[in-house]
Each structure stands twice: as structure tokens, then as C-alpha cells.
């Protein structure tokens, strides 16, 4: 965005620093408003889509009375949550209790920033994009513990401790499997990773098809990412409310809505990383070489990117309504005894492949053999 502003108002370079900083701040505010509205609109529709997908899989109809086909359901939910009375328990730690939902939402929303939605549409092009997203998503676990401790409720504390244990443990398979994918384009910048995957009809140079090791890395990453977001089958912290109580027991009204929306925001982020690193980001399949006007190409790229993300989110919802919930010791066993060793060996295998074939994938080798 800063380069965009420099391009548009390039001659302001020579003006006073005060005006330049004022323009930058205005640009930051406007871009935050745009990204925030996109994030909130997406999160509203995600709650509606979740109930409809759940209804389809469970052989029933989801909401269908509230608007046409139930489309206004999230509006009704949001307004109702705003109208609820705000209860803060008497013995609760007041500042921790109040701040926790804001931090969860901020951490989840701040990770929308380094994503590149298309060739020229991005908010901020960081050269450490992937590292930034993983670091910011870890703040969520701290904020959950703040909320759980501040509730002064023993079940909230259990839920919060289990949530922190789960999120911190599953960071390790995530990072290892992402490393197995990052060593191929050798860059942490989101845009460079997507540009590496261009060519080859827009499909065959995806990093997931590069290597049998990256194929395995995708499945490890996806499993660990579902655990990171606290979705079933790993939702011991939050749907423990179906057993005892979760970390958001004592939150009413809009404070609860922040936790709720942050979960869907996290789903978007995790799917966006998977789509960028493994599935080629905004590369349009099959018609990438066709000449078309710039606005059409950019729009198509944004649409393709969002489609890949929504397909992955549909897969996450599909898994939620299929599998039963894991017990907390089974969850820890899965992470430490199965996913982490496999991710280590996967990383070693991917490194050996890169060493042997000099970073070329299966498609590159085959096309070098058969098509001179």
C-alpha cells in the first residue's frame, strides 16, 4: 500500500514530512477499514454457511426462515448479541476479563495483513510474511488464557489451560511442515512463493505436487492447523461446553461474539496460508497465459484465491461434522507421538530431495526428460 501511495502522490516526497505522515496515517486507516469490513462480512457469512453445511450433512435444513433462504440469519444474531445485557462476574479479574476478547480478535485480524490477494492487490508486502502470521496467531493462546483466568470459574480455567497446551503443542508440526514447503521457493515472502508457482498450466507447478514429501507435509499441516484453530475433532477447549464448560463460559453478548468471530477469522488465515504455500495462491489454472486486460486478470486472481480458501474452509466444516471429538490425552498423543516425528522425517526427506534435484519438482524433471 505504501508503494501505491508513493506512486499516486509521488511528488509529495518533496513536501514536508508532516503532510507525508498525515497521508500515510490516513491511508493506513482507510485500508484497515476496508480489510476489517471484509473480515467481518466474511465472518458473518461463515456462521451462516457453517449452519447450512451442518444441516446438509446431518440430513436436515439449516436456517431458512429468517431472510430469503435464511441469509439474514447472521444479521439477526449480531443485533441480538448487541442487545444482551453485559454481565461481569463479581469476583472476576475485571481488566483481564474485559481485554481478552479484544486481543483475540486483534490477533486474528492482524494476520489478514500480509496476505497477497492478487498480483497488485495487497495490504502490506512483508518479506517475512509467513513468520509474521505464525507469530501473531500465537497471541491467541495467550489471550485465551487471559480470558479463562479472568473469569474466576474453575471450568473456564480448565478449558483455558487445555487450550494453551493444545495450541502451543500444535505449533511445532505446523512450523515443521511449513518449513518442508518453504525450502523450495526459499523465501518467506508470500508474493515470491506464489510467483514461484507460476507456469505449468497453473496447476502442475504447485508446491504440493512438487515432491512426495510436500504432499505429506500438506496433510500434516492441515491436521495441525485444525487443532490450532480449535475445531472439532480438536475442540476440547471450546465445545467442552457440551461436556462441562469452555473458556468462554462467562462471556455474554458482544464479548462472546468476538471470540466466536475470531475462530472463523483464524480458519480463514490458516486456509490462506495453505492456499498460498501449497496450492498456488492466486495463480489462475489453465488460462494463465491468455492475454486479458489488467482489471479482468486482477479480479480473476482474487476470485481464484478466495475460491481456494473457501474450498479448504468447506473441508474443515466437513471434517467437523464427521468426526467425534478427541479426548485431551489422545489429542496430546497425536501431536507429540505421531505428528511431530513424522514432520521431522518429512523435513529431512524434503531437504534431501532439494539437495539431489536442485530444487526442481516432479513436473520440472518430467518435462525436462520428455519435452526438450
Amino acid at each position: 500500500m505504501i508503494e501505491l501511495i508513493n506512486n499516486i502522490i509521488g511528488n509529495i516526497h518533496s513536501s514536508t514530512p508532516m503532510i507525508r505522515w498525515l497521508v500515510y496515517v490516513m491511508v493506513i486507516v482507510i485500508s484497515s477499514v476496508i480489510v476489517l469490513s471484509f473480515a467481518l462480512l466474511y465472518e458473518g457469512f461463515a456462521t451462516y454457511a457453517e449452519r447450512k453445511v451442518a444441516g446438509d450433512i446431518q440430513a436436515r435444513i439449516g436456517p431458512n426462515r429468517v431472510g430469503p433462504y435464511g441469509l439474514l440469519q447472521f444479521v439477526a444474531d449480531g443485533v441480538k448479541l448487541l442487545l444482551k445485557e453485559d454481565i461481569i462476574p463479581f469476583y472476576a479479574d475485571k481488566w483481564l476479563f474485559i481485554i481478552a476478547p479484544y486481543i483475540v480478535f486483534t490477533a486474528s485480524f492482524a494476520a489478514f495483513v500480509p496476505l497477497s490477494y492478487s498480483d497488485h492487490v495487497y495490504v502490506a508486502n512483508m518479506n517475512v510474511g509467513v513468520l509474521y502470521i505464525i507469530a501473531v496467531s500465537s497471541v491467541v493462546s495467550m489471550a485465551i488464557l487471559m480470558g479463562a483466568w479472568g473469569s474466576n470459574n474453575k471450568w473456564s480455567l480448565f478449558g483455558g489451560m487445555r487450550a494453551v497446551a493444545q495450541i502451543v503443542s500444535y505449533e511445532i508440526p505446523i512450523i515443521l511442515s511449513l518449513l518442508a514447503a518453504i525450502i523450495i521457493p526459499s523465501s518467506l515472502d508470500m508474493k515470491d512463493i506464489i510467483l514461484y508457482q507460476s507456469g505449468g498450466l497453473g496447476i502442475f507447478r504447485w508446491i504440493i505436487f512438487n515432491n512426495p514429501f510436500t504432499l505429506l507435509a500438506f496433510f500434516i499441516y492441515f491436521t495441525a492447523a485444525i487443532a490450532e484453530v480449535n475445531r472439532t475433532p480438536f475442540d476440547i477447549p471450546e465445545a467442552e461446553s457440551e461436556l462441562v464448560a469452555g473458556y468462554h463460559t462467562e462471556y455474554t453478548g458482544m464479548r462472546f461474539a468476538f471470540f466466536f468471530m475470531a475462530e472463523y477469522g483464524d480458519m480463514f488465515i490458516v486456509s490462506a496460508i495453505a492456499a498460498t504455500l501449497f496450492f498456488g495462491g492466486w495463480q489462475i489454472p489453465f488460462i494463465n497465459g491468455v492475454a486479458m486486460p489488467l482489471w479482468l486478470r486482477e479480479t480473476l486472481q482474487v476470485v481464484v484465491f478466495l475460491t481456494k480458501i473457501f474450498v479448504l474452509i468447506y473441508v474443515m466444516m466437513w471434517i467437523r461434522w464427521t468426526l467425534p471429538r478427541l479426548r485431551v490425552d489422545q489429542l496430546m498423543e497425536l501431536c507429540w507421538k505421531y505428528l511431530t516425528p513424522i514432520a521431522f522425517f518429512d523435513l529431512i526427506g524434503a531437504s534431501v530431495w532439494v539437495l539431489l534435484f536442485n530444487g526442481k519438482g516432479v513436473y520440472d524433471i518430467l518435462s525436462a526428460l520428455f519435452v526438450h
Binding site: G55, R65, L83, D86, E242, T252, G253, F256
Partner: protein
């Protein structure tokens, strides 16, 4: 609603805003999973596939802090009555109660000779809709919820009563 409640005159703008607020309250009635006895099974069936309560926007939440409808389904003993009162107090307003089945209405089959059953849940909490039956059919419970939705639409929040 605090400061704004019950203060504004009754003209077309504020009654429309009231109608919008009431529409949002009635379209997303989140009920608390409170199932004590046989009526609880009928409550679970009403949320299941054949008679779907999710069509009306009603999902179940397990904690009273996030629910605005408590469907008292089942027999309430004197030991449980204490807890029912606490759970009702923990729900944030606006809150509604539906008494489902004979046991919640008037103590049910235990009316005459039982020393341990609370004869009707409206002795401890205010009830909005009574659904009779032993147990009521899921369609009868859905009709009770629709009657509650009609009552919610008639409420005046912003406008002077």
C-alpha cells in the same frame, strides 16, 4: 437497553426500529440445554433432523450466559429447584422461559403424593409460555416457540409503553 428504554415517543421511525430489534430477538433465540427427564428426549428430538429447530435460528448453547431462552423440560425436584433459580439468574436479560410438559407446568404425575417434587416451575421463575403434554409432541413444542416469537414481536423496547 439502559438509557434509551421507554422514553421515545411513538411515531413511525421509532416503532420501525422497535420492530427491527424485536425481529432480531425473535429470529435468533438461543436456548439452553436444560433437559432433566423424558421431556428432555423430546427436546433433543426437536433439535434433531426431522423437526429442525435450527430453521428458526434457534441453536443450543450449553452455558446460561450465552442463551436467552430456557426450556424447562422435565421434572424439577426440590434439590434441583435451587439450581434452576441460579441458572435463571445467570442468564442475561432479555430472557424467556418455556415450561414444557406436565411436570414443569404443575408437577405432572407427582402432583398428589410426592414430597420431593416442585409442583410447577412457575413457583420459582416467571414463565412465558406453557406447553402442555406428557411429553408434548415436537410439533407442539415448535408451536409453543412460535407463540413465544409472537409475544416477543409485541414488546415495546424503545417506545414508551
Amino acid at each position: 437497553m439502559g438509557v434509551l428504554e421507554d422514553r421515545l415517543p411513538e411515531n413511525i421511525l421509532f416503532t420501525t426500529v422497535d420492530k427491527f430489534l424485536n425481529w432480531s430477538k425473535k429470529s435468533s433465540l438461543w436456548y439452553m440445554l436444560f433437559a432433566t427427564a423424558c421431556c428432555g428426549i423430546e427436546l433433543m428430538q426437536t433439535g434433531a433432523s426431522r423437526y429442525d429447530l435450527d430453521r428458526f435460528g434457534a441453536v443450543f448453547r450449553a452455558t446460561p450466559r450465552q442463551s436467552d431462552l430456557m426450556i424447562v423440560a422435565g421434572t424439577i425436584t426440590h434439590k434441583m429447584a435451587d439450581r434452576v433459580k441460579k441458572l435463571y439468574a445467570q442468564m442475561p436479560s432479555p430472557k424467556y422461559v418455556i415450561a414444557m410438559g406436565s411436570c414443569a407446568n404443575t408437577g405432572g404425575p407427582f402432583y398428589k403424593d410426592s414430597y420431593a417434587v416442585l409442583k410447577g416451575v412457575d413457583r420459582i421463575i416467571p414463565v412465558d409460555v406453557y406447553v402442555p403434554g406428557c411429553p408434548p409432541k415436537p410439533e407442539a413444542l415448535i408451536e409453543g416457540i412460535m407463540k413465544l416469537q409472537e409475544r416477543i414481536m409485541e414488546k415495546k423496547t424503545l417506545v414508551k409503553k
